[in-house]
Symmetry: C2
């Protein structure tokens, strides 16, 4: 059975040494007032989070996969053995309230910390972690745009974890294309609405872990315009609460079935049938898509953290196996008296492991940087800082979602490979990581959609301003350390790549504006996001390497942690970063070779062009 130890040493390094987070947080009155901007306190919370996750969630991961969820004839759903009890402990220990607003019972901790908790939970048990994860998304949207009445009634229950939340977007015919949803809402004239329609793929959509479920549902109000501009967001509870929060009658939303999936079997993926269910408007009429994006952005980072968490745990187990499993001999021998040496001696095994380590550590650095930027965006007293942080969050969110889930999946696959045939057998648990990791690339907007969001919306829509700001930061860093004896070579590569990112962006932008160039953004987007991801990871590895080299040089590397950073950075630039060379070529190749003859190549008679 796989094991997991939260990478606390690395997390604390990032928090204090890379990000200087306690000092940054102390500048924000919100955190200062909540008395949470203290390095020791933050560190203690992380220790406790690790203990909870390792003790309560890790042991339930395999049982969740094997048992899955069961829907009964009365449309109720039972979660796997132990899930409900662990959730009770989670809420009782206050984890559901961790970064929530103290006005609604929250602890007011920074995103930086809840981000780490989510990473850990995803390593331990991603299917379980999705239940509180969805609640968090619902909390965010409701907190941001809900009326005081709704907030006062629902938020304390969600924060305490007594009730959980969902995001109801997808319909059978409408996934990416939410503008064509058919779920309808009619005004009841009493401040409530009747919601009718079918939603599919609703994670945590029905379960027995909490007494009530708060569905946030996209629907079209009668008389609203077509498309995304006619969509509103409604709150539809499973049980309708009284003003005192006590559960009242059962609402008209039932689970029609649950899906049988490739993975994340411990999470109930529900078909929800809304039949005149009573709902309340959240935010403004016809602004549902904007409001939903509050949830989606949180969910996108959360999904990225699934990739990170699953990559990390897969790496940890592959490393343990590589130390234990002996096969073939290496000179010099490790086990001179025995038949074979641990497979960790073989360079190709080390390559697979270092890939996992390098992607996990860079991903963690990016995620924590992003989380701290969220804190800054929301709570920094300086408006310019808030704006700067918001821009960075906008850029990094699609990268966090897509780059981390792609890397996480690939790392899970390579870590499984380290096990040879045993990796394919269920009892070792490695194949579950692969199956569980696969969904992250698909949901919350496929990674193709993330790429379009990055290139089309975040980069090109403002004429590259946000990109230039970030590229400027990187190039400044590169210039500052040009010729550095340790990281000089890295910053040279980084500076070139950052420059190339700018020129590639220009090339795409120009092509896109030409006659017939409308497809150029779509054609380049996926490769562009991967290129961009490497530039960000390269920047973070160079920064981490700089800190680590200084420590090593100063003789302050007692446990080898900094040497590990130094050598992993070196590996990253030698073996992973060069992917940018191929990506630059495929980005430049553009749409030309994709614009094939549909009839000849795809046997498609329904032609796009004559």
């Amino acid at each position: 059975m796989p094991s997991y130890k939260a990478p606390l040493r690395d997390i604390k390094f990032l928090m204090t040494e890379l990000l200087d987070a306690p000092a940054e947080l102390a500048k924000m009155p919100y955190y200062a007032a909540n008395e949470v901007a203290d390095a020791d306190l933050l560190s203690q919370v992380l220790d406790e989070a690790a203990r909870f996750v390792e003790t309560e969630l890790v042991p339930l991961n395999r049982v969740g996969d094997q048992e899955g969820c069961v829907r009964h004839d009365d449309s109720e759903v039972t979660t796997p053995t132990g899930f409900k009890a662990a959730y009770k402990k989670y809420t009782q220990a206050g984890w559901s309230a961790l970064d929530a607003d103290p006005n609604y019972g929250g602890q007011g901790m920074p995103h930086l910390i809840s981000n780490v908790l989510v990473e850990m939970m995803n390593s331990a048990n991603v299917a379980w972690a999705m239940y509180p994860g969805l609640s968090h998304g619902a909390y965010s949207a409701l907190h941001a745009v809900g009326s005081d009445e709704l907030k006062n009634l629902y938020l304390p229950k969600i924060v305490s974890g007594e009730w959980t939340g969902t995001m109801c977007l997808t319909e059978p015919h409408a996934g990416t294309d939410l503008g064509i949803i058919r779920t309808k809402a009619s005004d009841n004239g009493d401040g409530t609405y009747s919601v009718t329609g079918t939603k599919i793929f609703i994670s945590a959509g029905e379960h027995d872990m909490a007494e009530n479920i708060v569905h946030l549902v996209l629907a079209r109000l009668d008389g609203s315009p077509e498309g995304t501009k006619g969509i509103s967001l409604f709150l539809v509870p499973k049980y309708i609460p009284g003003d005192d929060g006590r559960l009242g009658e059962r609402n008209g939303v039932v689970c029609g079935s649950i899906e049988h999936k490739m993975g994340i079997n411990g999470n109930a993926t529900a078909v929800l049938n809304f039949d005149g269910a009573k709902g309340w408007l959240v935010g403004e009429i016809n602004k549902g898509m904007n409001h939903m994006f509050i949830m989606m952005n949180a969910a996108r980072l959360g999904t990225g953290l699934q990739g990170l968490g699953l990559g990390e745990v897969a790496y940890q187990n592959a490393l343990a196996y590589a130390k234990d499993r002996t096969q073939m001999r290496h000179e010099p021998r490790v086990n001179p008296g025995e038949q074979a040496d641990p497979i960790l001696v073989h360079p190709d095994v080390r390559r697979m492991l270092l890939t996992g380590k390098a992607y996990s550590e860079a991903g963690r650095a990016m995620a924590m940087w992003l989380a701290l930027s969220l804190d800054t965006e929301h709570h920094h007293p300086d408006e310019a800082k808030r704006k700067e942080a918001a821009d960075l969050v906008a850029l990094l969110t699609p990268i966090a979602k897509a780059f981390m889930t792609d890397n996480g999946f690939n790392v899970a696959v390579q870590s499984q490979q380290v096990f040879g045939g045993h990796g394919y057998i269920q009892e070792w648990g490695m194949e579950q990581f692969v199956r569980d990791a696969r969904i992250g690339q698909i949901y919350e907007g496929t990674n193709g959609i993330q790429s379009l969001d990055l290139l089309g919306r975040k980069v090109l829509m403002d004429g590259g301003k946000k990109l230039q700001k970030l590229a400027g930061t990187l190039q400044e860093f590169a210039e500052e350390h040009e010729g550095d004896e340790h990281i000089g070579d890295y910053v040279t590569q980084l500076g070139k790549a950052a420059q190339q990112l700018g020129s590639l962006t220009m090339v795409i932008g120009q092509k896109a504006m030409q006659e017939g160039g409308a497809d150029e953004v779509n054609a380049a987007a996926v490769d562009y996001l991967r290129f961009f991801g490497h530039v960000v990871y390269g920047y973070l590895w160079a920064r981490m390497a700089k800190i680590a080299h200084d420590k090593v040089d100063a003789g302050q590397d007692k446990d080898g942690f900094y040497l590990s950073k130094v050598q992993t950075a070196r590996f990253y630039f030698a073996k992973l970063f060069p992917e940018t060379k191929a990506l630059a070529a495929t980005i430049k190749a553009g749409n030309e070779t994709l614009a094939v003859d549909d009839r000849a190549v795809f046997g498609w008679e329904q032609l796009v062009t004559a």
Copy 2:
């Protein structure tokens, strides 16, 4: 439910236009004598093979995955519903005898044709296809090195399909490292041996599809030396036949359990306990590893064909879905009166599909070239031609295994991605392709081991002679078509890459011979194989493009088939071949960044070096 149509048009193009196979086969007296070197006959056989596969095997693919195999208390194993009946039809139609020796009831058809049948079966139902696949491996080894007595008794039954075969290599502590196996054989003094030990991961190891199972077992004969030089190959039947082939007593080999796996659930992966089981020596004492490689080489190509077949079927279904599923709008509109257009209009969807198409068609070309080379190796009257073919087979076999299974898995993953969330749901069948494809990268020697075989054994061991021969062929082709209006650009890229392959090989070889350079081959091997694979695919795409352009230019492209080839080749060189740029860099980076400090980086106290 997924569908599958055998790509007969492409197969026949490759057979007649790329490979000119009927004419080549006609030069070989063996095929001429068997009267099978006829284009029309070969084409008919392929049509019938496609009909059998599409009708009988496709419908059993999902049921095989869902039901899996069941082991009963008496150690017998039941295969999924329909598997046994389909196998009976398969044998009755003579498919098990297709390329077998007429002396033992075979039809004497070329490998070229059985290769295609295997590809089709793997597309349709890889778990099912493994039962006859394993028999074929056992047939090959027995046919090559078995005594006449064993051959006369066993081969007719294996050829007819009445009995199936297995390869028993792996033990709990010995996978890649077969030199340390513990299964023992003792000479009974009567021409038989007693075999005792435990073998694991035995595909098709126990089942109800045939009346007898012929296990080919690696074991160490009492008194044999340690390591791979002391291993012999034994034939151990489940039931011991009399001289007349009638089944006699049950032998001392039982299925201890079957594995629960990530995929290929329809195939029983058995733990086999040999307890003084009666066996017969196959070939020479202590030459078991050599004899086993006869099976392994066949199995490696067969495994590569799993990657090819699964990539092909995943691509076909993704393409069908992309035509059917409407989501978002594209200018110009395809469905002007409707809400959304088929997703095939989106360039990124086309990129994913073209990736599947380009890898599948190049893989098929390589596999058929390799299969025809096997025919040449075994049956060409000219010894020089046989030698040349054998060298090519030696080089291409590890590439066929590793490059095709890696690409097949990646194509299955990308094809699943085309389905969005539906790809993650079991009923669509796409996730099964991903799970089934994953094993191909692992078994029959992991892809890391294939890479070492290619670089260490096939390329460097003879000082690069086989490589030079192939590279010479490629460069000749490149020079011949330099400046060609259609493929001039491709051959320029190809020529450079072929040259680079040579120089990279030299760099690795030189590093490896230096003091402390023993790990350089292992460090570079995986990236080297991928680079080599692209060079081979690039060569084949350039050749296919040349043929296709000529047809298009001559106005002979009635159905658009040749235009499809032309445009897929263009895509391949623009979007997939550039991976070589990254690989060249990572190959050059060598072992340096993998030779990290074990204690610091991996927390490994059991140090390799002081």
